[in-house]
Structures are given as structure tokens and as C-alpha cells.
Amino acid sequence: MTEANVALDKQLAEPGVSGAPLRQLFETMVRIATWEQRLLQFMSEGHVAAGFYHPGRGHEAIAAGACETLRRDDYIMYDHRGCGHVIAKGVPLTAIFGDFLENVAGSTRGMGAGIVHIADPSVGVLGQSGTLGASFPIAAGAAFSSVYRGTDQVCVCFFGDGTANRGPFHEAANAASLWKLPVIWICENNGWAISTSVEQSTSVADLTLRAAGYGMPGVRIDGTDVVAVYDAVSEAVTRARRGDGPTLIEATVDRFRGHFMGDSESYRDKRSDAEFSDRDPIVRAERLIEELALMTQEDMQRLRSSIRQEVEAAAVEALAAPKPSRERIFEGLYK
């Protein structure tokens, strides 16, 4: 473990909520989960095809905690797992629904979501690479760009445990650390890449062991603890902004709904309801909020229902938009 590693681990071990805006984090997580719930409804209603969506339920704390530490002009590269990252970074819910509905309300103006291409430069959402791992160099390049332009924008690159084994990680991590680029590498380790467990795919049990090989701190956290995520990413962002380079954060988490919608997960043991709720970042935040008496059960209910309304309004608005006509296919290729 590197020095920075130890320091951060110690800090995270302290009880309490650090400076994390827990109420806000809770709200974002609820928004993410509620949005996904509504998307599933679109699927069962036949408005959206199910097969290409990779549900993010269980991962909410990572997106919420990480993006809460960022400025609007900071960048993110997200991955295929859920839509938490883009929601937390501020892409309008209507636009995200519009992408899945393949209509002109979408962020990509009718090109659709696919697996998954949502973007919004105005909030630093740079898009996604369907070939997993290609996001690594792009993230490093965006960070290079902010240094070159003399801004202090950082770039967070979210990726899965399976994707951690793609070669471009090595090239991008080396270059980013070499040049002390402001990148934060966040591995969402849910233990699985489709049907392949992390033990079957990865030669080390602790991915942060790879950090020292690039000369960056590696921090392993419980990715269902939104405060832990917020704290670790805050530290990494501070470090990156002051020019000290990247951090590798591994956040362990649970993939609640299988790899894709409809995955029977025959390849892994079933989990009990108790096991699920212990790994549910929203349940955990709720408990903490109650413990700290930040909100009452009633407050939280009110918040949930107002978010449901917000999400429903976005869904309705998005659904009303038309699909683009054939000519759309010729737009946006060349200038």
C-alpha cells in the first residue's frame, strides 16, 4: 500500500460524515434509482427495447458521491452500467429518456442511447466508448487538454472491474501519472463482468495494487457507502486539481439486476433480501440519515415523491417527442 493509500484509508475509517452533503447525495441516488425504475416501466410498456440496457441499481452511490465533488465544467467518461453518472453530472432527465426512446428529445438528438451514448458538453459529459477500455486514453486526453489550456478541470473516468483488464488502461494510466494529469480513475468493482467473476478474470484480489505500478495512490472503498465515495473522490479531486496527478479508486459494489435486463444470473448464487439491503446504497444512506437525524422518515418520503413527480414529468415530456426522420442519419458526420 502506498503512503497516500494508508493516509486515505485512515481518514475514511474515522466515524462520522466528514463534510459530505448527505442530504444532497441521498437525493441524487434516489433520482438515479427512480429514473431507472421509470425506464424499466418504459421497457415493460414496450417503448424501449430491454436487451441493451445494463441496469445500475446498486451502483448509485458511486455516481452520486463522485459527481457531487465535481464542478459543472469538470469532465466525466462513464460506462454502460446504468445512467447514474450522467444523471449525477446533470444531464437533464428528459434528454436521457429521449435517448432511450430514440427520439429528438434525447441528448444525441435522435441517435438514441444504444450501449450507451449520451453526451452533454455543457456539463462535461464527454460520452462513452462501446468498445470497453477505449475511454481510458480519451479521459487522459481530456485531462491533458485542461492542463494545456491552463484550466483546473479534472476528468473522472468510471469503469468496471472487467474493463480494468483492457490494455488501454495501462497506456493511459502511465501517461496520466507521468504527466500528472488531473484524472480520477474510478473502478466500480461489482465482482462480475457479464458471467465472469472478478476472481476468474483478474490476477489480484485488490485492484488498487495496480496503482503503485504507475506511481499513483490507490484507494479501496465500499462503493455502497456514499460518504466514503464522496470523501475518497474529494481527496482525489483536490490532489488532481493541485497538479499532483491521478488517483485510482476501487469501489466495491453489488450488481442488483444482473448484467442486462433479463439476465437470469444462473452463474451466481442467489442473494437474500437482507444481503441486498445491506449492499443497497440508498438503504444505507437512509439509515445513516436517520441515525444522524438529518431528515425524518417523512422528509425522505416527501423527497422521494417529489422526485417521482420530477421523473414522471421528464418521462412524459420525453415520450411526447417525435422520432427523427430518415435524413437524421446524414447529420453530424462531417462538418
Binding site: F52, E102, I115, S129, G130, G162, R166, A193, S201, L333
Partner: protein, 341 residues
């Protein structure tokens, strides 16, 4: 190795079993795993899970994890590692989860697998098959929908095989596995569920031999993979116009069976080339070029190529349909070369 001609296939059609394209591939894999201990499978989620398209389903249970190997998400390792295994005595059959991922192992495919034997003086065999599920399936987007076989038309050292029927898939895959050369084997995902007759017993189809899927006199359609069915449908509908269409399926691009294509066009005098990849710079160009070199005096009309529009495949299923060719496009092209434009 018996060459299976169109006529033979038709004759035996009645007496044979029906299998889906995916089942036919699975049967070929199982038979070759059984036959030769040096054959093993490697890829992402191909083990107990059976592959994301279910193609290898059951093989792990039957042959175990030594012969059917799940890998990390590491395509350069999958292909490069297979090259290492192939030059040291094994016969790897690896799967890239989507054919598009050829792009992340391009050096391994186009220069390592393809050229290792040649650049090292002929000292090694490279008996390697790379299975690649390809093609648009309604919304998988530009990185999980391509038909990239054309990328390899210009890569000496490779065989490029693209079957369109279950029987061809089985017979060609078995030939590929037995070949001492590297073979890229493209499987159109839409075909996986389609059923067709499979000859009983040992069934091998030689690599590089086209198959005339329908005989006709007025125009030749050269089409492969999923486009063969479109061509056959178009041909059926054109009967009403009094147009007799011949459908030639090259069943692969390298080697390209020029003779069969050229003879057909010399007979019909007209050529339409159909592929799912985008038209501009696409794999149909080579077919057209071969005809422009060797069949020009027989051509009664300009060649027409039908392919996807010159854009990446949009991830919207709604837009995707406007980009990839459909049966009406094929019919329109035939009418054009017939002068009914």
C-alpha cells in the same frame, strides 16, 4: 473433403436434420473438440454461460474448463495468446464477443496471425480460428453491429469466411478448424436463430468456394451472410417482373472465388453486389473490381453495389433501418441494372 455443390445440397436437403445456425456452429465445435485434443475454445463468457449469443452453450459442461476457457476482457490477449498457442502446437478457436472488437486486436489479426508464418520463413503453422458475431441487430450501435469482414480483404495470410446457412456454417467452420492457416469466421447474429437442413455425418465445406444459392439467367446478385436471404427474397419477388435472378454466395472474401462469380456474370451480363457493410469503400468494391477486370466485355449494364449508407450505424434501431440495405433496395438495384430504373 467432399465439396458440397448446390445440386448435392438440394438433393440431400430432404433427408437431413434441421438445425439453427447457432446449433450448427455448436455442432461443428463439438465434433472438432471431440476429434482433436489440440482444439480448444477461448473467449469472454463462452464457458458455463455459453457465450452472449448462446453459441457455445453446453460445451463447457461437456468438455470442461481446460478445453473451453473463459478469459478476461482482453482481446489483444485472446487473439495474440491464440497466435502463441497456435505456433506451439494447439488449434485455438477463439471468440471475439462482437466482430467490431477486431479493431482492438487488429495488429494481432492482420499482422501476427496473418503474417507470422510468412515473415518467419514458413517455419510455423498458425491453425487458428477467430469466430466473430457480426451485423446489425436493431440498436446495438456503431461499435457492436458492424460487418467488418471487408477490413481483411487486403490482408494476405488470412482466410475470411462468411457463411449464410446453417449447413455452410457447420461445414466451413469444421474446415476452418482443420486448416493450418488462420481463418476469420464471421457469423451474422441475425442468422443464429434461422434453421436449415444439415447433412448427416461428416460435413465439410471447402474454404474459398462460392455457392450458387439460386440459378437464374438475367442478373447475378453476389451476396453473403444475412444478405443472401435478402437476395433470394428479392429474386422471388422479381419473378413477377419476368426477371430471372442468379444468387451467388461467395461464402467468404479470401480467397474470393472469382471463377464462380465471373462465370455467372458472363452468363447473365449483369451484376448487383449486396453487403451489409457500408457501400463506399466496402467489400463489394473488390467484387466489382474483379468484374471490371475480367468480365467487362460481358457486362450489359453498369454494376450496382448495394450496401449500408456511408455513415456509422446509428445506435437508434429506428434509424438503423434507414442505414442498412433491405429487400427493396436489392429489388431497386436489380431493376436498375435491368434498365427498368
Amino acid at each position: 473433403m467432399t465439396e458440397v455443390t448446390y445440386e448435392a445440397r438440394q438433393a440431400e436437403g430432404a433427408s437431413t436434420r434441421q438445425l439453427s445456425f447457432a446449433e450448427a456452429i455448436r455442432e461443428a465445435l463439438a465434433e472438432e473438440l471431440e476429434r482433436d485434443e489440440a482444439v480448444f475454445l477461448m473467449g469472454e463468457d463462452i464457458g458455463a454461460f455459453g457465450g452472449v449469443f448462446g453459441v457455445t452453450s453446453g460445451l463447457h459442461a461437456r468438455f470442461g474448463s481446460r478445453r473451453v476457457v473463459d478469459t478476461p476482457i482482453s482481446e489483444t490477449f485472446i487473439v495474440g495468446g491464440a497466435v502463441g498457442a497456435a505456433i506451439t502446437g494447439l488449434r485455438p478457436v477463439v471468440e471475439l464477443q462482437f466482430a467490431d472488437f477486431a479493431a482492438v486486436a487488429m495488429d494481432e489479426l492482420a499482422l501476427k496471425a496473418a503474417a507470422w508464418r510468412y515473415m518467419h520463413g514458413g517455419l510455423f503453422d498458425v491453425p487458428l480460428v477467430v469466430r466473430m458475431p457480426e451485423g446489425a441487430i436493431g440498436g446495438a450501435g456503431p461499435e457492436q453491429s458492424q460487418c467488418p469482414e471487408g477490413l481483411f480483404s487486403n490482408v494476405p495470410g488470412l482466410h475470411v469466411v462468411v457463411p449464410s446457412t446453417p449447413a455452410d456454417a457447420k461445414g466451413l467452420l469444421k474446415s476452418a478448424i482443420r486448416s493450418d492457416d488462420p481463418v476469420l469466421f464471421f457469423e451474422h447474429k441475425v442468422l443464429y436463430k434461422q434453421r436449415g437442413p444439415i447433412p448427416d455425418g461428416e460435413h465439410l465445406v471447402p474454404i474459398g468456394v462460392a455457392d450458387v444459392k439460386r440459378q437464374g439467367d438475367d442478373v447475378t446478385i453476389v451476396a453473403w451472410a444475412r444478405m443472401v436471404q435478402l437476395a433470394l427474397d428479392a429474386a422471388e419477388r422479381l419473378v413477377a417482373d419476368g426477371v430471372s435472378v442468379e444468387v451467388v454466395d461467395p461464402r467468404g472474401l479470401r480467397p474470393l472465388d472469382q471463377d464462380t462469380i465471373i462465370s455467372s456474370v458472363k452468363k447473365t451480363g449483369r451484376a448487383v453486389i449486396v453487403h451489409e457493410a457500408s457501400r463506399v469503400g466496402g467489400p463489394g468494391a473488390e467484387v466489382a473490381a474483379v468484374l471490371a477486370e475480367h468480365a467487362l466485355p460481358w457486362l450489359a449494364a453498369p454494376i450496382v453495389r448495394v450496401g449500408a449508407e456511408d455513415v456509422p450505424l446509428p445506435q437508434s434501431a429506428h434509424l438503423e433501418q434507414f442505414v442498412i440495405p433491405n429487400v427493396d433496395d436489392v429489388i431497386a438495384a436489380v431493376r436498375r441494372v435491368m434498365g427498368h430504373a
